[in-house]
């Protein structure tokens, strides 16, 4: 299945793209994407924290992804 990954802030600098398309086995979870990304982009491991949102809602690492889901990488936020 294909999913769309959005990068923001420091994660965009690390990955070098705004958007990344991944082709994953059916049943993949947020944790699987995290593992894939940290292998491919090791500096991700050094962030103070990394959260994820699926279709614009915060998601746990156990959350299962579905075809065409939009997964956003949320490094430490700093609004205000």
């Amino acid at each position: 299945m294909k999913i769309k990954v959005l990068t923001f802030g420091v994660t965009r600098d690390i990955i070098g793209e705004d958007v990344l398309f991944l082709d994953l086995p059916a049943g993949s979870t947020v944790a699987d994407v995290r593992t894939h990304l940290t292998e491919r982009f090791p500096p991700i491991e050094k962030l103070a924290s990394l959260m994820f949102a699926v279709n614009a809602e915060y998601a746990t690492s156990e959350a299962q992804l579905a075809e065409l889901d939009e997964l956003a990488l949320i490094p430490p936020v700093s609004g205000g």
């Binding site: 420091v10 103070a48 936020v77 700093s78």
Partner: protein
């Protein structure tokens, strides 16, 4: 009633105040963020804000709705800016009206504290010799 906006243009404190104005209100409390010229003694030239826009709006709305449930307040307005901001400009304005001041202060503080923890907005500090994403690294 809530009023949530994410905008690329200068924020208007007057517009926020006008939204929360209410004949039942005995108090209006406003938190107005300000871009300061230094971080830990280092000169800041400007800030650059970016947001995951649909989610940032949804999360700001959740915060305002939570505050309305939790505190005895009338109306809440949360406006946040994105893009490049110069020293002295306003990144965020949170305005709350309530019958009594205690609730207005408490709700306003709750909104800004929660916004800083949950809303997907990122700030880059630009210095003379480089730039960093705030809080990205331990």
């Amino acid at each position: 009633m809530t009023d949530i906006q994410l905008q690329t243009t200068t924020l208007s404190e007057a517009a926020c105040r006008q939204f929360v104005a209410d004949n039942q209100a005995g108090a209006i409390v406003m938190f107005s963020g300000t871009v300061r010229n230094q971080t830990q003694g280092k000169l800041v030239l400007r800030l650059e804000f970016e947001a995951y826009e649909p989610m940032a709006i949804a999360e700001m709305r959740k915060i305002a709705e939570q505050a309305i449930r939790q505190f005895d307040v009338l109306k809440i307005s949360i406006h946040h800016r994105v893009g490049v901001l110069a020293i002295g400009e306003i990144p965020v304005v949170i305005t709350v009206s309530a019958k009594h001041r205690q609730a207005a202060f408490a709700a306003c503080q709750f909104c800004i504290d929660t916004l800083k923890q949950t809303v997907p907005i990122w700030k880059k500090e630009v210095f003379e010799d480089g730039a960093i994403w705030v809080a990205a690294h331990p």
